[in-house]
């Protein structure tokens, strides 16, 4: 999967994670394999419940107590993170791997100053005294373009707007110049106008620091603009991986094709009413997955073989897809008899 000779920065192999729930053990992540090269941006795309956030949290071993990692390896810089003890993991978190969360409103501690929260990783991992940590925090806040950065160190999160809080989160993530930043839907909770700014900033700063970025999103527009490579997840599995360009040009998995078809565009007919394609049905219940391909019940191309689970196979160099159906050239986009056309007045 990787360029010969050089190991990827992060190599997740056959990761499985399950959660204890009232309805029994639920497998949220099922034999997921991913890799991220140094400096690369990988987008993980999927609906809510597809396992993308759990995958991300598992990399830092931060899933809550109801969940457990059942198998697989998470190789980071060649070391298996699943074999580390808690203290070693703590030393990695926030230092070599940092994470940015979805909700900037609730992800910052309301009773601690911005300066304290941004400076904390430096104090923890660099052993700096607070004075130095604050200085560096001010510098970081300047880099995420917060005006009057040093004056705002003493502010509390409630003094900041949503966009500013997410900038502060980015500053916090960048604090120790991590090799890898995981951003879990970093802009979902923000205004559309702010979203683009935040993503551009994130991309620019990670490139500057030569950090790799895992961008978790359900927004294919974001993927097109900011990702180098994409992994599409469905029901806890990776169903397709490709470069962002290739995926857009020619989605191979019917689920990816369905996602692409359901992106609203503005070049519809001028008459007013245009129909937006949707994928029929609901994402499956993880506690009661079908035997074979989890997407089969919603898939326009499903046939008998789909009762067997499809392996993730390389269809061409650098492209992987988990589907028994092999579309003729031109992708899975063309023939979609069951891709219903729902009326959306625009």
């Amino acid at each position: 999967m990787t360029a010969a000779g050089s190991a990827p920065l992060l190599d997740v192999q056959d990761l499985s994670v399950s959660f204890r729930t009232d309805r029994g053990l639920v497998r949220a992540v099922d034999r997921v394999s991913l890799h991220v090269e140094s400096g690369e941006t990988l987008a993980i795309v999927g609906e809510s419940g597809s396992g993308k956030s759990v995958t991300a949290l598992s990399i830092l071993r931060l899933i809550d107590t109801a969940g457990s990692i059942d198998g697989g390896r998470i190789l980071f810089d060649g070391e298996d993170l699943l074999r580390h003890d808690e203290a070693t993991m703590r030393a990695i978190r926030g230092d070599r791997i940092a994470m940015i969360f979805q909700e900037p409103m609730s992800s910052l501690n309301p009773v601690l100053t911005i300066g304290k929260q941004v400076g904390e990783p430096i104090r923890l991992h660099r052993g700096s005294v607070w004075k130095q940590a604050y200085e560096r925090a001010a510098e970081l806040l300047r880099r995420v373009r917060i005006p009057d950065a040093s004056g705002r160190l003493k502010d509390y999160p409630h003094h900041f707007s949503g966009g500013m809080r997410q900038r502060a989160m980015i500053a916090m993530a960048l604090a120790c110049r991590p090799r890898l930043i995981i951003a879990d839907e970093p802009t979902t909770a923000l205004d559309v106008t702010v979203q683009a700014q935040i993503l551009a900033l994130l991309k620019e700063l990670t490139r500057e620091a030569n950090s790799a970025l895992i961008l978790i999103t359900h927004d294919l527009g974001v993927v097109a603009r900011y990702a180098d490579r994409v992994a599409v997840m469905y029901a806890g599995r990776v169903v397709e991986t490709a470069t962002a360009r290739a995926l857009y040009a020619d989605p191979r998995h019917p689920y990816t094709a369905g996602l692409m078809a359901s992106i609203p565009t503005l070049d519809g007919d001028v008459e007013g009413s245009r129909r937006l394609a949707t994928i029929p049905g609901q994402p499956p219940d993880l506690a009661a997955l079908p035997e074979g391909c989890a997407f089969a019940p919603r898939c326009p191309h499903a046939f008998e073989r789909c009762g067997q689970p499809p392996p993730l196979e390389e269809t061409e160099a650098g492209r992987f897809s988990a589907c028994h159906f092999r579309p003729p050239s031109g992708g899975a986009q063309g023939a979609s008899p069951r891709m219903e056309q729902n009326a959306v007045t625009r």
Binding site: G94, A98, S107
Partner: protein, 316 residues
């Protein structure tokens, strides 16, 4: 901040006014009046003497006249004179208040040193044996009445080990150790009974806080377990706990009445109890007034402390 304090202090006045009314009236509703008690004690039965004593004590006036006389005195710092002891109520309060204050303060320390660590422990070890033990203990402390526990502590150690709690009061400034030796047992019992609710509240709040997104953020930064509790969780969790402590202040007074009686601590509680038995109206009114002011001030203090705990409610 000062404007806020001034506003809050001003708001105490109507509250206290109504409290004083209620106390004054309810006191007269207790069956049997002070004159009957005095007459019975002194074997006097004639109506003439009765009228004379009533007039001397000012009890021949209508209740509202008595009330305005009393409230007029209060406004000039005079809480009246004990009907039995002929001592100004202010003098009695001066002698007893510091003692009850000490008992309350010690109990609060006991309550917090028990409740906070156990509450936090119970939360971070949720559903383990330790958590169950802590929670059962707290339920037990809630269920067991203080007077019964107090009596047990008086009786059983003396039977089993020929040891009994100290029952002689020594002023703190005369001999601090002797003073503490006496006060510590009622303080522990009172503190434990307060700690039950506080512990459960701490546990609930910590569980709530530990689920918050910012705790996950802190973990993702590599913050260790201790720092996570101390820096990131505790202050957020304490905000409602502090409110609860404020609300428990009246409980503290109620407890003081019981434990001061059992352990012979000459505080306000004991003063109040004797005054109620003797229908010593000015003393009862005085104690209630001071206790009322105390409870209101504690709650004011609680509100002010939010400013320190929660930057969002800082009174600028």
């Amino acid at each position: 901040m000062y404007a806020y304090l001034a506003r809050r202090l001003l708001a105490l006045v109507p509250t206290l006014f109504f409290a004083s009314l209620i106390v004054f009236i309810s006191m007269r509703l207790i069956p049997g009046d002070v004159i009957d008690l005095m007459l019975a004690q002194n074997d006097i039965t004639t109506g003439q003497d009765r009228a004379r004593i009533e007039a001397a004590l000012g009890l021949d006036q209508p209740v509202y006249v008595q009330y305005f006389r009393w409230i007029g005195g209060v406004l000039t710092g005079d809480l009246g004179t004990s009907l039995w002891q002929n001592v100004p109520v202010t003098e009695q309060l001066k002698a007893t208040l510091p003692i009850t204050f000490e008992l309350g303060f010690l109990s609060l320390i006991v309550a917090l040193t028990v409740a906070l660590p156990i509450g936090v422990y119970s939360a971070i070890r949720q559903d383990t044996a330790g958590d169950y033990i802590a929670r059962s203990f707290s339920l037990l402390m809630l269920a067991v009445p203080g007077f019964w526990l107090g009596t047990l502590v008086m009786v059983f150690p003396s039977v089993w080990w020929r040891w009994a709690p100290e029952l002689e009061y020594t002023p703190f400034f005369t001999d601090p150790l002797a003073n503490l030796a006496h006060m510590i047992v009622p303080a522990i019992l009172l503190g434990l009974s307060m700690s039950a609710v506080t512990m459960r509240m701490t546990r609930t709040m910590m569980l709530e806080v530990l689920r918050q997104d910012y705790i996950r953020t802190a973990r993702a930064k590599g913050v260790g377990e201790w720092l996570l509790i101390a820096r990131h969780a505790l202050r957020n969790g304490l905000i409602p706990v502090v409110t609860l402590i404020g609300l428990q202040a009246p409980l503290l007074i109620g407890g003081a009445v019981i434990f001061e009686q059992i352990f012979v601590v000459p505080g306000v509680g004991l003063l109040l109890l004797e005054a109620v038995f003797q229908r010593d109206y000015p003393v009862i009114s005085g104690v209630f007034l001071v206790v009322g002011v105390g409870v209101l001030l504690i709650n004011l203090l609680v509100d002010v402390s939010y400013g320190w705990l929660d930057p969002k409610v800082r009174h600028e």
